[in-house]
């Protein structure tokens, strides 16, 4: 007789679902806000070629959180500190793409190693250790959740206030500075916002998986749209669906949240890719000669 490796009820079970949702309303709201803000900021991450930097910042954020765990501080404050230090370092030292990649490449293993060192010195609850790397929103305490939501909202406001100059700067830094945009300030402010939102996502999906909310939704949106309004809106929608959908699905099973979020976000990207491909094929078939002539 075959014994199944896992029980389906671990993955989906909708008993007492309503109660669970009510209990975890704060987590769901945090996921929703992060999804939206992550999608929006992701558009600029893609445009400014910062995906690798996001990963580096998240590892330093993990180290900060681990240090806070070891020395008994606030984990949220620790992750914020780590992320901000990394973001500002990258922003100041790595304004050229090649410099930036080498700096991130140097910072990332250092941060990860530091974090693992702190975690192995820490002899508290072991559940906390793993959750920083792979995320577990349901284990975040209620006041901390409040902070996460508040920080995400602040990042959203900051992003909207410098939306146009940031777009200009991301497209063409030379022209933007010629027009009098303080490009250095804009880049640095963007890195600070990025650091803040990375620190938030470390708590929700974990340091190793932040890209699923900060890069994938925007990348997916850019596959199917081009407008200045449609891309950010789609990216925000994709981020929202991934984060909230992932949390809601995770509530139905006993598995951690992150795999659900990353899977949804990946599926959305794959869907957008298929849409783009089929569109391109239709276009090619409909006007094969004119496009070649133009």
């Amino acid at each position: 007789m075959m014994v199944p490796l896992f029980d389906w009820s671990d993955i989906f079970s909708f008993q007492d679902y309503g109660d669970l949702v009510a209990l975890l309303a704060n987590s769901i709201i945090a996921g929703a806000v992060l999804g939206i803000v992550g999608g929006l900021i992701g558009v600029f991450v893609m445009q400014r070629d910062l995906a690798f930097a996001v990963h580096g910042v998240s590892e330093l954020s993990f180290a900060g959180a681990a240090a806070a765990l070891l020395f008994g501080g606030s984990v949220v404050a620790g992750s914020l500190g780590g992320a901000l230090i990394a973001a500002i370092l990258i922003g100041v030292l790595g304004s050229k793409a090649r410099d930036r990649n080498s700096i991130v490449g140097v910072l990332m293993p250092f941060g990860l190693g530091l974090g693992i060192l702190f975690l192995s010195l820490y002899d508290g609850r072991s559940a906390n250790r793993f959750s920083l790397l792979t995320g577990q929103i349901v284990s975040v305490s209620s006041p901390d959740l409040g902070w996460l939501i508040g920080i995400s909202a602040a990042v959203l406001v900051g992003l909207l206030l410098m939306w146009n100059p940031l777009r200009f700067d991301s497209l063409d830094q030379v022209a933007a500075s010629a027009r009098g945009i303080p490009t250095r300030f804009v880049s640095l402010a963007f890195m600070v916002l990025l650091g803040l939102i990375v620190a938030v996502s470390v708590h929700i999906i974990g340091a190793l998986l932040v890209m699923a909310l900060l890069v994938t939704p925007a990348a997916a949106a850019m596959r199917v749209a081009a407008g200045p309004l449609t891309v950010p809106l789609l990216a925000a929608l994709f981020g929202f669906v991934s984060a909230v959908g992932g949390i809601l699905l995770a509530l139905a099973g006993t598995l951690p949240v992150s795999p659900y979020i990353t899977t949804i976000s990946f599926l959305i990207y794959a869907g957008c890719w298929v849409v783009q491909r089929s569109r391109a094929r239709v276009k090619r078939r409909s006007q094969p000669v004119t496009s070649a002539a133009a």
């Binding site: 445009q47 209620s142 006041p143 508040g150 939306w163 777009r167 030379v174 022209a175 500075s177």
Partner: protein, 339 residues
Amino acid sequence: MDGTDQTIVRTPRIHLVRMVVFLILVGFLTWILQQPVRAAFLNNPGLNGLIGVCLAVGVVLALAQVVRLFIAAGWINAHWASRRPGEQLRPGRNPPSLVRPVAVMLADDKTPVNATLMRAILGLQPLSAGSIRVAGQPVQRGNPRIGYIPQQRPLPPDTSMRARDVVALGVNGTRFGLPIPRRGDRARVDALLEGVGAAHFADRRVGLLSGGEQQRLRVGQALADEPTLLLCDEPLSNLDLANQVGVTEIIDRQRRERDAAVLFVTHDINPILGRVDRILYIAGGRFVLGTPDEVLQSRVLTDLYGTPVFVLRAGDRLVVVGAPDAQPHHEHDHDEDDA
């Protein structure tokens, strides 16, 4: 197109109706959301503090809107308030351009003297000595009287912008604050697109456009504020011959119709030869300044380079043979020195 008719007069306009609708919407949303939000965060001091901060930011923004309203109504006489590019650009109020519309060309340098000069005029490069005045005023960062046309570098194919959005950045790209479009922005962008011959691909993705099409958009972006001085930094490099002619034509039209001065950096003299008043020829740390006929002579350039150089004419075209620094460096990358 007649230059005087086209001069854009933009005064700050407040959209009362839009503001009222916005406030009603915000109020309605707050009212709808207050119950669930309160229930969710009742025991959450940290969040309450942050909500307070957000509210304070909102109040400040609203106050700023009210101040703008008063300024627009003329109740506050504030020059500082409407220093936005282009808004005060009425004929007669500002002194017209440089002494005379002049097109100067810089050619053939190995050191990035041209880049430094442009950055100095744009106010991005401090001078070690001397001073620069643009239209009678000292240089300043973000001078709306100056339009800057950078070198053509291909935009990444996945850039999430349409052609129209690149030009629109010239109109709204310097505005901090909520990205709410203003009345007249769209018409202005349409006019700019028309002016650079980009109307028929206005809604296509920029990443998929050809180099010439992208460069027209950059020109349109630079013309957004009706500049009286156009700085063109190798705008024709990487373009094919037809596009070189097209882009030159647009820039020259701006010079004629708006009485604008043009400073045009290039390594290839030919595309603009008939339209240049004066040439500043830089080579090996020295320069010659004069009319094209004065400068583009074998004797003058031989003296400048210090080795025998021949200027050969073929029809209305011209070739400089034997210049020691023969390899043109098209990709003098600005990111490198700007960073």
